[in-house]
């Protein structure tokens, strides 16, 4: 009897430890996170090339919409401060601040993700097991996000997004897009993998990933918070208050824009799922890009002038 009681107590202790261990896997997101990985340095900062869809599983709708998107649309007064859809967390340059919303018992009922810039709206990730509202509910740039834990990974499902851009070169995203984020923390670093499904403009899921790093106080996050004040844009004039994206005029000849710099053939720049896979590289055998003359060392850590000394 004594041994049985002892065994029961030991088992309950073990169960408590196991339960606690599972809880520990649900890591704390709180804090300021900034991008650490180096992929696509130009696209993440200054913006991508107008007709560059290589590696994007764009379908014909998306390709046509991207190629015909007016390059100066973001200069329009009513769109200069327009935010990006939620996928901008991985496509754009900003990290953000995660904070917990807790109930009276201290349980996390939601995570909030704010941004240091005007162009990504705050997100609320509901962790209380709720379902998203119906598909005809209000669509916003931040969308509606619900989260769940899969062991040590927070899986966020975002829907109810507004029409927007997947990339700032005119590649569109629709209000039927759904995003799935996988967040896994390793000490002061966190990997985020994003799966974008868009039945309107993509022929396959668009998958990307990024590593973020936990930093200290708010002052460490990408310098000052960036606001946006709409202003009339005059060609060649800078008012110092906003930095609307300036894309070259959209013309049919733009299909050769990237060829002019990198000599990439349209079969590559037109994108599509096939351009994501290794076998596509076989079609480019013999292709030789010119020596680099532009943005050859752009990197947030090591400016171009720093390594040219």
């Amino acid at each position: 009897m004594r041994a049985a009681a002892c065994a029961l107590a030991a088992l309950m202790t073990l169960a408590a430890l196991v339960y606690a261990d599972a809880a520990r896997a649900q890591f704390d997101l709180s804090g300021n996170w900034v991008g650490e990985s180096s992929e696509d340095p130009l696209e993440h900062t200054a913006g991508g090339y107008p007709d560059m869809f290589a590696g994007i599983p764009v379908n014909e709708n998306g390709r046509q919409a991207g190629l015909t998107a007016p390059g100066d649309v973001m200069q329009e007064l009513n769109r200069q401060c327009e935010p990006w859809p939620a996928h901008y967390l991985l496509i754009g340059p900003w990290g953000g601040r995660f904070a917990a919303l807790r109930d009276a018992a201290g349980q996390v009922i939601a995570w909030t993700l704010s941004s240091p810039a005007y162009d990504r709206l705050p997100m609320t990730i509901w962790m209380d097991g709720r379902s998203p509202p119906p598909a005809l509910s209000l669509h916003t740039y931040a969308g509606y996000s619900v989260g769940r834990w899969e062991g040590d990974t927070l899986v966020i499902s975002t829907s109810l997004l507004k029409d927007g851009y997947l990339l700032d070169n005119g590649m569109p995203s629709s209000n039927r897009e759904t995003d799935t984020f996988f967040l896994t923390r390793y000490g002061d670093e966190m990997t985020i993998m994003l799966v974008v499904n868009d039945p309107v403009y993509l022929e396959a899921p668009f998958v990307s990933a990024r590593t973020m790093k936990l930093v200290g106080g708010l002052s460490d996050v990408n310098d000052p918070i960036l606001y946006c004040m709409p202003a009339e844009t005059i060609e060649g004039f800078t008012d110092g208050y906003h930095s609307a994206i300036q894309l070259p005029p959209k013309e049919a000849a733009q299909r050769t824009y990237l060829q002019g710099i990198y000599r990439l053939p349209p079969v590559a720049t037109d994108g599509g799922a096939r351009t994501m896979y290794p076998q596509f590289a076989k079609q480019l055998v013999g292709y030789k890009p010119p020596d680099c003359k532009l943005y050859c060392a752009q990197n947030r850590r090591v400016p171009e002038d720093a390594i040219s000394r």
């Binding site: 107590a9 599972a22 996988f182 290794p278």
Partner: protein
Amino acid sequence: MGVRHIAGQAAGWPCLLACLVASAALLPGVPSAAEGQDEADAGAPTSAQVSAAAAAAANGAGHAMRPRPSARARAPFDITGYWVSLVTQNWRYRMIVPGHGDYAGIPINAKAKRFADAWRAAADIAAGRQCEAYGAPALMQDPERLHILWQDDETLRVDTDEGMQTRLLRFRPAASDAPADGRTDGPTDGPTDGPTASSLQGDSQARWALSAVANSLNRAPEPNARLYGSLVVITGHLMPGLLRKNGIPYGVGARMTEYWKLHALGAAQWLLISTKMTDPEYLAAPYVYDSIFQKQADGSGWDPSPCSLTS
């Protein structure tokens, strides 16, 4: 209340001691008093370990601990099979050979720039060094297919069709399965400095970072409770090589820490490899990049190709 009564009064101190012994066996990084010398069981518990620890506690001692399962048996996910690169990022630097002088995205220092500016592919091709761009730091960025299999119970083998390379990820028997804590390396992690010869793929030490046991809705693990976690790989003893086929170098002191993680959505599975590379000789800051692979049903797309510096 009932639990406290049983544990504190009916069972008494011997039982409390047994609980402590069992607890110590489960705490990551804390060897149990009974098996002290065996770091193997200090990691997150598997269902089997839990059962063994409970049995030991019930016997009032910790002598019944079973041998630690192999790395293969402890795997929290099945990483084996065929995988294909998804080149959705850094396309211009991965699918084609970047132009001479195109160093964007890699935090090289001035010495690396001088090296790359002076580098010419023709000279290395003539010298038979085509594979210098297929070392471990560059290999996972190549557009390629992977075939991952267990070479033995403690070694994962990763074959690539592009460049026909093989990486061996070796698990050390004493390595802890504790959660990844963000260390890039340390006295007990990764290859140690020593006489090990450098090689193209270097010496890769692997461990599982298991940070959860079971469905958190359950108060106790089920017999076949699912384990979650990541594969942590630390690589050193690398021969000098190229990060890009336009001459960006890395040196003998380069080390890399990789986190291999499986993600699934519906029937699709992806392998995310997040890499942080340091190189005191040629990098001004850590080089961090993420590679994504998609699970394949079989090896039908497998296309072995020799090393090349021109494609």
